[in-house]
């Protein structure tokens, strides 16, 4: 026959376990120990409170621009909770809660956004990459890491975060294609938060889902209620297990919402309505999960209060320590010449001396 249908076996699952009204699908509910559930809850709460504190610090001029996560706690914490320590995390730039869950200190985060390069250092023993700001470019690094893991016969996995906007970038497509071709243990987690600054998801792509983009590359894709931490955990666990056992990459689309600004230099009122934001406030992942834990008897109001207090104290202490550290580091501008190469070339050494002389001159004038 000259023209026939090709029999394509494509489909995309949508996964939701605990919906915005608190309805639980008991069949799909993962049997997670209370210890892990409470760890997740605490991380979500800390992510929320730390974000709020960062916003205030930014408004006070104590730190610079950063990308808040409010509303996306479940979308990023479910996946990292399904990882093991030896797996690799490749963040974009809106994953503070996930990074902290993976061992990054709040001080390191504050230091970085306070404008100190030193905050980019990744503590010894953590398989986390530093944040990536150019949208979508980090996806390829997760493919390279995955290739290397496989080459070294390890059963670790590289998990990379990206946003809905990133799915329009060429690198994302090259990454999915390479991951598919080489069957690398790479898990792509797209936090579809509906907005790429002012550009809505509906205009970012005509695709019905973002998850289906993976299918074109022979990679399984799944769409998940990104504000349901049980679902984001389950979907990631499934993808990670598959990758770990040699089953190759997966793309997960966590459908979520950025309740805050894109970055602290943005005014969302220019492009979206309050009504829309209020609609999504109802689907806030935090109260939903809190209610689930209370219904389960794993959490009480008293425990929440105690946690809130504990977290606020932790954040306060981290801010104080960071500000001390910033004071010290402000006296070490010469450190800007560090880490350009393994060995500093002579011309760079000369430029370092140039700045040193200038600083000495300034001190002489004022001293």
């Amino acid at each position: 026959m000259p023209r026939d249908k090709i029999d394509l076996t494509f489909s995309v699952d949508y996964l939701s376990i605990l919906d915005e009204n608190g309805h639980l699908d008991k069949d799909l509910e993962p049997k997670l120990p209370n210890k892990l559930l409470l760890k997740l809850y605490r991380a979500m709460l800390l992510g929320r409170r730390f974000d709020e504190r960062m916003l205030r610090l930014q408004r006070q001029g104590r730190i610079g621009t950063f990308a808040p996560i409010r509303g996306q706690e479940a979308s990023q914490l479910g996946p990292v909770a399904a990882m093991r320590d030896s797996d690799w995390l490749v963040p974009a730039f809106r994953e503070s809660a996930a990074e902290i869950y993976r061992g990054r200190s709040m001080e390191s985060y504050l230091l970085y956004y306070g404008g100190y390069n030193q905050g980019g250092r990744v503590a010894e023993g953590l398989n986390n990459l530093p944040i990536t700001i150019p949208v979508g470019t980090q996806t390829l690094h997760a493919v390279g890491l995955g290739y290397a893991i496989k080459y070294r016969r390890k059963d670790d996995v590289a998990l990379v975060f990206l946003g809905d906007g990133a799915t329009s970038e060429g690198d994302f497509h090259e990454a999915l294609n390479f991951a598919g071709v080489y069957q690398t243990p790479t898990v792509f987690v797209c936090q579809n938060n509906q907005w790429a600054i002012s550009f809505p998801r509906s205009r970012q792509s005509r695709s019905q889902t973002l998850a289906q983009k993976a299918l074109a590359y022979g990679v399984p894709g799944i769409q998940v209620d990104g504000n349901d931490v049980l679902a984001t955990y389950v979907a990631a666990k499934e993808a990670i297990d598959r990758a770990r056992s040699g089953g190759g990459p997966t793309m997960i689309e966590n459908v979520t919402y950025r309740l805050e600004v894109h970055s602290t230099s943005d005014d969302p009122k220019r492009y979206r309505t309050d009504e829309e934001v209020q609609e999504w406030e109802k689907r806030d992942p935090l109260p939903r999960f809190q209610k689930y834990l209370m219904d389960k008897g794993a959490l009480t109001d008293k425990k929440v209060q105690a946690l809130e207090e504990e977290i606020q104290n932790e954040i306060k202490a981290a801010v104080e320590r960071t500000e001390e550290q910033m004071k010290e580091l402000s006296r070490e501008p010469m450190s800007m010449f560090e880490h350009m190469y393994a060995e500093r070339p002579p011309y760079l050494e000369a430029q370092k001396e140039e700045l040193a002389r200038e600083l000495a001159g300034v001190e002489e004038t004022h001293g």
């Binding site: 470019t137 390279g144 390479f178």
Partner: protein
């Protein structure tokens, strides 16, 4: 010692390093089954297998970004971009990540990768196959940019580049691939990155060149000796960044005169940087203005006029005579 052309010499370097170190992988378009369109990676697939000699989909950013991920894990990928004219589709990966990850992570990670690219003119190729854009890379902090001028040094520099802990852009002048042969020792030979070489000693004028232009510079020096009785000193830059300006300045302090030669277009080109450093380091010994003999500030023409665009020995001789007359 075998007499090898540059393709064979580069192939030898890859062979030996891959044999020695299982963290060395090769990836790029047509590098495996085809052995590379210039045959630089010939025979590697048979010896090392497809896990280490990776034919990739046609995607430059994919190649470089994947190589970066491998390097972050501790491998030493040698990625090939088939022609430097296509590296712009990967340039963002080089600039935004390869060059910066050591800095961004404050030394927690580094990117020990080599990005090999055939570049420059002289082989009657299509558009996008002949340009010289080394300045983009040399201008980018965090990268090293290396350009060999013959088979033996190419082999030694490639081994050093693979072992270097930082990302190295390895620009291969494709008109030299099969231009001439040199004795290349079988036993391992390396050459330090960041070091220029004196290719010919002299005392009256310094000619600074690299890549395929070194041959032109040496021819010019010979002509100057024969016809004018002038001893030109010829310096082979070899590493554009980090640049060994001291070797150049030392020569100019001796000769007082300099001509800089490159195929890249003139404005904001490597020659401008070299002039600037020479002025800083040898101004008081200069006897004449420094001259640049370069490609013109046009797109490199297609093959009919290509040779007129490229600096020739004759143009270098004219420039040298001019600075010698001042």
């Amino acid at each position: 010692m075998a007499k090898l052309n540059m393709v064979q010499a580069l192939n030898l370097a890859l062979h030996q390093e891959m044999k020695k170190d299982d963290s060395v992988l090769v990836l790029g378009e047509d590098v495996g089954v085809d052995g590379g369109v210039f045959r630089v990676t010939e025979g590697l697939l048979g010896e090392f297998g497809e896990e280490r000699v990776i034919d990739t989909p046609l995607a430059e950013a994919g190649i470089v970004g994947t190589a970066i991920g491998m390097a972050l894990y501790g491998l030493r990928p040698v990625a090939e971009i088939q022609f430097a004219g296509f590296d712009y589709q990967a340039f963002h990966q080089v600039e935004e990540h390869a060059a910066r990850l050591r800095w961004r992570s404050q030394g927690s990670y580094h990117v020990p990768m080599v990005l090999r690219m055939p570049y420059a003119g002289g082989v009657r190729a299509l558009e996008h196959h002949s340009e010289s854009r080394e300045a983009y890379y040399a201008h980018t902090p965090g990268l090293k940019t290396v350009i060999p001028s013959g088979p033996r040094i190419a082999r030694a520099l490639l081994i050093s580049a693979i072992r270097d802990p930082d990302p190295v852009i390895f620009y291969e002048p494709k008109s030299l691939y099969r231009a001439f042969r040199e004795e290349v020792p079988e036993e391992e030979e390396t050459a330090p990155l960041g070091k220029a070489q004196i290719a010919r000693e002299g005392k009256e004028v310094t000619v600074i060149a690299y890549g395929a232009m070194l041959t032109q510079a040496l021819q010019a020096a010979e002509q100057l000796e024969k016809e004018d009785g002038v001893q030109a000193e010829v310096i082979d830059v070899l590493t554009l960044s980090p640049m060994d300006d001291e070797t150049m300045a030392e020569s100019v302090r001796k000769t007082g005169r300099a001509v800089i030669v490159h195929e890249a277009s003139r404005s904001f080109g490597p020659g401008a940087e070299i002039v600037s450093r020479l002025v800083e380091k040898s101004f008081w010994q200069l006897e004449a203005p420094i001259r640049r003999v370069t490609g013109f500030d046009t797109i490199i023409p297609l093959m009919a006029y290509e040779q007129l665009y490229l600096p020739s020995a004759a143009r270098i001789v004219r420039a040298a005579r001019e600075v010698l007359s001042q």
